[in-house]
Symmetry: C2
Subunit: 222 residues, 2 copies
DNA sequence: ATGCAACAGATTATCGAAAATATTTTACCT
DNA sequence: AGGTAAAATATTTTCGATAATCTGTTGCAT
């Protein structure tokens, strides 16, 4: 069998929703499913706990981190801190290569967005191109830590974004916030870009609020 | 024997410099020293790797993360992103309780700073009060993630700060940047405070540069 | 001498049994 | 019935033996 990494495997399962929020991650079950011993599983879960996708309670094992509004809002706040600073630095330092990567990412994003609702696969492809675009924007920031933080926060955000089909993809491309954001970034209008990304971070929070998502069912806090 | 957590134990050893930068963390040795089996050690080291204090290489084990200028600078950049945003939110949301905590932290800091150079213990106490002050400033930001990130970045920063005795404690308290920073924060002069903390983040970078620290010996990059 | 392959020693990574801890069930008393 | 204690079961967590991998060394051919 191909050599696969348990951490990535579990992460994928969580992000794809195979392991649902709050689900206990039983040792026996994971051992069976991935065909590995206890040690690699515990190690992987420990790391994922540090990453924020998994919750660990002493002597009670691990479970998939639950979703709630407060946590989503917090992700947005943290992303705000990271992406604002990273974008600022990126727009100051970014060279021609950086610009062209943005143009390329934007092109892909447009294509994937157009076909987003054709199937589950094209939807996933759209999501991927979306995250890639955001990464491209800050790619020139020069800070490994900011890039890594963005990556992790994007992952955590993804689980929430998938709760609803975000009504953010318009037939008219110019209606899409990303079009305008990318344009402003490439024109190096720094303050405008930072302000835009700050608002942009709140889209999923607002969308779920507008849909009444958190009021519908009884909210599971734990 | 008291029930202790291996992760905290190893973290302390790294931060206190018992385990020096780049030192391989051998399983056998740690097993012996802490009197535990392999599993808890690997788990702890995995988490510490995610935290950034330890480096993990597949099939080559773990070692204490090395120190170099680029990494210190990156810590400063990340702290900049986190503390600027957190301070901003804290200054907007902070109530009377928050203010009084700052006054208290500042008082302690002043006392510890005055006695900082008496002994190794008082120096450590000063460091602790310093980090506590910074935490107090952003305590009202309302974001668990930003608070957690600050904590982790402070830890990572600590190893660098200890490389030199930072000539930042003046007999005249008003010369200390922290005095002015705390004052500006309490007066809610937002833009000034954010600008100050941004500069403040670079103190250790500049101090080590000024001391020629990185040019002295041959820099170990790996 | 130099390069390379096979061997030997050291170290990490994994496994599954055993110990520790939590949870559920049962039995008993008021 | 309601509540508590003890036993039984389920689950996590740790341990040390074993397997896998890396590193350095020897011996041999060029």
């Amino acid at each position: 069998m191909a050599k696969v990494n348990v951490e990535d495997l579990v992460r994928d399962h969580i992000l794809r929703g195979v392991f649902k929020p709050s689900t206990p991650l039983k040792m026996e079950e994971l051992k069976e499913r991935f065909d590995v011993g206890y040690s690699p599983i515990r190690e992987a879960l420990s790391r994922l706990a540090g990453e924020g996708l998994v919750l660990a309670e002493a002597n009670k094992g691990f479970r998939v981190r639950p979703l709630n509004r407060a946590d989503l809002y917090d992700i947005a706040v943290a992303r705000c801190a990271v992406e604002k600073e990273a974008l600022r630095r990126s727009m100051i330092e970014g060279d021609d290569g950086w610009e062209s990567e943005i143009v390329a990412a934007m092109h892909t994003y447009r294509k994937k967005a157009a076909a987003a609702f054709d199937s589950a696969e094209t939807l996933a492809a759209w999501e991927l191109s979306h995250d890639r675009l955001h990464t491209a924007l800050i790619a020139a920031c020069g800070s490994p830590r900011l890039l890594d933080l963005q990556q992790r926060l994007q992952e955590q955000h993804m689980r929430y974004r998938r709760l609803i089909v975000i009504p953010n993809v318009r037939a008219d491309a110019h209606e899409d916030e990303h079009e305008r954001l990318a344009a402003v970034v490439l024109e190096r209008r720094l303050d405008e870009a930072v302000a835009m990304i700050e608002r942009h971070m709140m889209i999923t929070v607002d969308a779920l609020d507008a849909a009444g998502y958190w009021t519908a069912g009884p909210e599971p806090e734990t």
